[in-house]
Symmetry: C2
């Protein structure tokens, strides 16, 4: 007998009718002979409603209490989902994160799962129940306080439970059909990716693809959990995130065809991100230790830096300019911290630009196929799009453009890599190097 962990997001359980529809879907899996653990988010916008309530009460609510408040949302959705399943004649029991053994650290609002001890879930399954688990929440190991994992945390709950229970698959249901080669709102010819490796999915998530949170993909890769990202509004196959063959029990004609064609995909997709800003520190003394001093100053504010570029200043040969990108929301905090350290660091001034966009091309195939980078630069040049910053990894190329040209850049790249076709075809690269 196989074990499936299914995660349903807020839009899949937005109201009573949606909850009933999801319950039917779960029961179909029971009828097919699977054991099922369901991780559920709060209904619709209810988490936002709770945040609004908290803001009405206090401008800066204590983090412990905010987490206690927000966990009420999943408590509601999990209980009504269990009721809906019972109403179809199947046994179901709901469990809070704490009851399900989701043990976290004490970082309220963004807790990390440090252990999963799903003894009660196993017992519930052994007794013939569908086990419904509240996503997004856990209990701290040290103080036994209730914690939340932050936005997207329900996906991580699902993958962590799947890992701890050694489930055959973790299905992540949402209102989209899977992972796409680009955002279909920008690129109408974008198509669903049938299968993608953990590494590629990690790069996509890190590059702004919003369908799966980075932390969740990291967890899946570490524990080799096959993840199936799909829509709760259709029965279509979605996107499999895995490095292994698709498990026997979940193979279809479609997945078999996909697996045969896997070799062909060089570029998986084009991701984009509008949430970053670029900060340039102009006139930094070109002596050892200055870059370290700058990034230590920023890191102390718990700000994640993404791309970094350092240039010799053209105006003053003894000085350099250092640019980096960071989350737009952290811009003010970074400037404040750097200005406070201005005398010590000795720079001239700061330039800040939040009208930038980042485009990333991701694909494991670029390791073995030279010329991938040139294709991107050619495509952007043809579209008259200026490149501001560049960074690369083994399987990713990212460039920063102006915000207003980002959509054009995404479309140009998508076309250049042959992703517009319904059937992805191999693009043959010539030349040497990337």
């Amino acid at each position: 007998m196989s074990l499936v962990v299914q995660k349903f997001g807020g839009s899949s359980v937005a109201d009573a009718d949606s909850v009933k529809r999801v319950a039917k879907r779960i029961v179909e899996y029971r009828q097919a002979g699977h054991d099922v653990v369901v991780v559920v988010s709060a209904m619709g916008d209810s988490t936002d409603d709770l945040i609004d309530l908290a803001k009405e009460i206090s401008p800066v609510p204590p983090a412990r209490e905010l987490d206690m408040l927000l966990t009420a949302g999943e408590r509601i959705s999990m209980a009504v989902l269990a009721m809906a399943i019972a109403n179809l004649g199947y046994h179901a029991q709901s469990f809070t994160g704490s009851q399900a053994g989701v043990i976290t650290d004490e970082s309220f609002g963004k807790a990390r799962i440090i252990d999963v001890t799903p003894g009660r879930i196993r017992s519930a399954l052994d007794d013939g129940n569908v086990a419904i688990v509240a996503g997004f929440q856990g209990v701290s190991q040290t103080t036994k306080n209730i914690t939340t994992l932050g936005r997207g945390g329900s996906d991580t709950t699902a993958v962590a439970l799947a890992a701890a229970l050694e489930a055959d698959v973790c299905e992540i249901y949402s209102d989209v059909d899977g992972v796409f080669t680009a955002d279909p709102r920008i690129v109408p010819s974008a198509h669903k990716i049938n299968i993608i490796s953990y590494e590629e999915m990690l790069e996509m998530a890190a590059s702004g693809a919003k369908i799966l949170m980075l932390r969740c993909v990291e967890y899946a890769r570490r524990y080799r959990v096959p993840v199936h990202v799909r829509s709760s509004f259709s029965q279509h196959q979605g996107t499999w995130v895995t490095d292994a063959p698709i498990p026997e029990a979940f193979r279809t004609a479609q997945t078999e065809e996909t697996e045969e064609n896997m070799e062909q995909a060089i570029i998986s997709g084009v991701a984009h991100d509008r949430s970053e800003a670029k900060l340039t520190i102009v006139g930094v003394p070109d002596i050892p230790g200055k870059a370290a001093e700058i990034f230590r100053t920023v890191a102390r504010q718990e700000i994640d830096i993404d791309m970094i570029v350092q240039n010799i200043s053209t105006r003053d040969p003894g000085r350099t300019d250092i640019s980096f990108t960071l989350p737009m929301d952290d811009g003010a905090k970074a400037i404040e911290a750097l200005e406070a350290g201005k005398a010590s660091i000795g720079f001239d001034h700061i330039q800040y630009d939040d009208q930038i966009g980042k485009l990333s091309v991701v694909g494991a195939g670029m390791r073995s196929h030279p010329g991938v980078t040139a294709t991107l630069f050619d495509a952007l040049a043809d579209a008259h799009i200026n490149i501001d910053m560049i960074s690369t990894s083994e399987i990713r190329i990212s460039v920063v453009t102006s915000a207003e040209l980002l959509d054009d850049a995404v479309r140009a790249a998508h076309t250049a890599y042959g992703l517009d076709a319904d059937d992805t075809e191999a693009i043959v690269y010539g030349g040497t190097g990337r």
Copy 2:
């Protein structure tokens, strides 16, 4: 230092502004040097909203899941109350019933508290926090499932916590000023009772006074917890429920005057109840064991019987008529069970009347003052109100009238016992017996 347990009902925390108002009130107690534990109900009608949601999902939701669902209400109110207190510069931490050590049996929806182990509450107090506890909920001793105590359960949570923590007082806040000598909507001259014994309060609660649930008063009496029933919308003294002197720290000019005058009160109040119906089984064979058979039949349906009257049938000397009152909601179930046993019991037919009302006069003074019963009967006769059934306890007289005359009966009794005056004066009874 004294310890106060305060319970705020749903109407006291109906919205953000109410929550802030309650937070201020709590902080005043901290400023006065008290340790404070707060038990809070769900905000406004939110429990009803959750029940409506459950009904949308399933006509008969599983009890375990309904309890899981309903406990979300207090989770929200307790977290926002803690936030509001923090916003006033005081430390507060919220705790679920389970975290607060409220241990219950496994009867979902109407669980009974079997133990309270408030270790985390004590620690929170020791650390200088106001401890906010979710009312109405607990965790089952055997299965660790989440349970609810049923409506009015938050009062019981407060009294149970006060007992376990050996609090100096348990304050029950609601939207009324205290316990009244009669329902002010029926008797405009009804006035607040300043102090009442546990025994009298028990009889009042059992007779339909809705301000405190029977179970809560029983708990308070067993553990000798002084209860102060008062309004969250004013600073007035409410009603003290206690057999002991009012604790030193909470004495005011008003309470001292009350305690001096305590001797005078013979009748505490007039309670009424419209929720019962009368069932008469006509033509029961007048042989031993028949009454037992009838009440066993009803008890098997878990129906609580209140008053019982047995008459010799005037039509058939070998048969009797047995009448009893029961909750109106259980009427159909009782009739069904009795009709099923008709052949065995051998009665003639059943009469059912749900147009009845019950009036109860409660007062510890009636033990030592003869003539109390006669006063009631005289008053009702003068008002041309027919008495249908009578039952008495040591400190209570209850009569059943027709439903439409109940209000008149309550007013007549209230006047007859001299309760209309603002200052209750002793009524002197003559004659012998009651």
